[in-house]
């Protein structure tokens, strides 16, 4: 009896969590003759034609490629740049280390929304507004990731590296051959969350981009909603295109997602 109650509660929350996604998917595969307002989760005549049709309205595949490009670059720069900085903070002795750590720590405390307008001016100063480079740069090496990797490097035993120093390995060799392979777990978390953060980001691309062919998926979809509210099938198809890659990634690597939340890799 207790078990029945437990499963009923679990199923109810399950329905609340993924029901809205299922409804959106159902809408996206309804044909032009089917009434999308009727609460029917199973279409009479399922079709994927909306996925092709949405591309006739807005260049949705260009948006997807832009998002993919931005997110991929973001993964590489965050993993490499944050690991380098984190390694220096954790493993190298030098004057000014405290200052560097303070700069990263204070960067974490600055809410992005508070520097939005000012950051736009900086980007314009560099002539990078309305470019994908301008979209990537502010989040290219997040200070939070620097500190996550610093902590990961600090947790490694020092003896191995001391042996490498005696063997004459320089700092770069110790970093790439010894330290980096030992923090793979944290790197996966950083990569995953950099990808997700970048793929999902809305406010900054909305402010910095102005030409449609530069749009990422998120602002492309907001734009699609503004123009074609009357055809919900197309908007629904667009949202599924935007969310499916992340769902697949999540199903494959969910352990790392949960771990990332535990380590504070995303701020909610």
């Amino acid at each position: 009896m207790k078990l029945v109650l437990r499963y009923s509660a679990l199923l109810a929350i399950l329905a609340i969590s993924i029901g809205p996604f299922l409804w959106q998917f159902a809408t996206s595969i309804k044909g032009p003759n089917e009434d999308v307002f009727v609460p029917d989760f199973i279409p009479d005549d399922p079709t994927f034609s909306n996925y092709a049709a949405v591309a006739d309205v807005v260049p949705v595949w260009t948006f997807a490629l832009n998002s993919l490009a931005v997110a991929s670059v973001n993964v590489v720069t965050n993993c490499l740049g944050a690991a380098m900085a984190g390694y220096a903070l954790a493993r190298l002795r030098f004057k000014g280390r405290k200052l560097a750590a303070v700069i990263f720590a204070s960067s974490i405390l600055v809410p992005f929304e508070a520097i939005l307008i000012s950051l736009f001016l900086v980007m314009r100063g560099f002539g990078l507004t309305n470019t994908l480079t301008g979209v990537v740069l502010p989040g290219a090496i997040a200070a939070l990731n620097v500190l996550l990797l610093r902590n990961a490097f600090l947790a490694l035993p020092a003896e191995v590296e001391e042996a490498a120093i005696i063997d004459g390995a320089n700092a770069w060799q110790r970093f790439t051959r010894l330290a980096l392979p030992s923090v793979k777990g944290t790197l996966v978390v950083v990569a995953l969350f950099s990808f997700m953060f970048s793929w999902d980001d809305f406010l900054w691309p909305l402010v910095v981009l102005s030409d449609q062919e530069k749009y990422t998926l998120t602002i492309g979809l907001a734009y699609l909603q503004g123009t074609f509210v009357q055809n919900q099938r197309l908007v629904a198809a667009g949202t599924i295109i935007a969310v499916l890659p992340l769902i697949l990634l999540f199903l494959l690597l969910q352990k790392h997602f949960f771990r990332g939340v535990g380590e504070g890799a995303i701020k909610g």
Binding site: G96, E113, I117
Partner: protein, 289 residues
């Protein structure tokens, strides 16, 4: 010597450059600009506290500040309590529990835009939710057309999206609650509700403070949900606008008033910092107990 004196700085260069150019400098510049009348085209003279005086007399600012505050107050209690209850439900290992945990987390990975569009469709005047309302004998509700309901709808979306995220935080914390405390309470004859309040809640208090702080900060700086549910307008007559919506509509574009938008940003920063300091203080008091 294990490395040359400049080697650490080569390692730090890319990260420091990004932080200094795209966080620290814009931050300091925002503070300077908030005391000027700079426009989108640049320039601007020092105008003292004029922007802040204007803000105090600007009804739009008060609407936005009130809405952001309401938003925060509205989302924090549900986001502290509901994910905890879900976590307690999902904590016990029963067959298939992995599938449930995965499903509960799914809304977290979807972007605010995807979530916003899905809920705009659900809450449409002819959408699924209104169909259910009508089937139950009610009349259709203007979830997205009334400025108050728009705010509430948007809070519901924020809460829905946060459930899975905070559940994971609670699951980690619950795993650390000592089992013998529960057993001792059971021996003393405490029922499940009594045990929740006198064992679970006290041992999770630091986590609850953390969740309250995170959800408060995120609630106050809400942008995407309101933007999407209102189609970018901030509600009928802008009555559902929030601080971040106001900043981005004042500061953006060719007619952007950069000076005034910076002053608004400065106020936003001070409030968020204040929230953070309150949390730190609460947590410190926890440590002393």
């Amino acid at each position: 010597m294990t490395h040359r004196p400049y080697t650490p700085w080569l390692f730090l260069l890319p990260g420091l450059a990004i932080s200094l150019l795209f966080v620290i400098f814009p931050f300091l510049n925002m503070i300077v600009l908030s005391f000027t009348d700079a426009s989108a085209l640049g320039g601007g003279r020092f105008t003292g506290v004029d922007n802040f005086v204007r803000m105090a007399q600007d009804p739009k600012f008060w609407v936005a500040a009130r809405n952001s505050l309401l938003y925060m107050v509205g989302v924090v209690p549900p986001l502290v309590l509901l994910p905890l209850l879900i976590a307690m439900l999902a904590q016990k290992v029963v067959p298939g529990i992995g599938i449930f945990r995965t499903a509960f987390f799914t809304p977290v990975i979807a972007s605010a835009v995807v979530v916003g569009l899905i809920w705009t469709w659900l809450l449409d005047s002819r959408g699924l939710v209104n169909n259910v309302v009508e089937a139950l004998g009610g009349t259709r509700i203007g979830f997205l057309t009334d400025s108050t309901l728009l705010l509430i709808s948007s809070m519901v979306v924020t809460i829905w999206r946060g459930l899975g995220y905070y559940m994971v935080i609670y699951l980690a914390a619950l795993a650390n609650v000592p089992k013998d405390l529960h057993e001792a309470a059971m021996v003393d004859g405490a029922g499940p509700i009594r045990r929740f309040w006198s064992v679970t809640v006290p041992s999770l208090r630091p986590t609850m403070v953390l969740v309250a702080a995170l959800s408060a900060v995120n609630g106050f700086r809400v942008f995407s949900e309101i933007y999407l549910l209102s189609g970018g307008s901030g509600g009928p007559g802008g009555a559902s606008t929030t601080m971040v919506l106001l900043i981005q509509s004042v500061g953006r574009g060719l007619t952007g008033e950069v000076g005034y938008a910076s002053a608004l940003s400065f106020v936003l920063f001070v409030i968020l910092l204040g929230l953070l300091l309150v949390t730190l203080k609460l947590n410190r008091r926890e440590d002393q107990l």
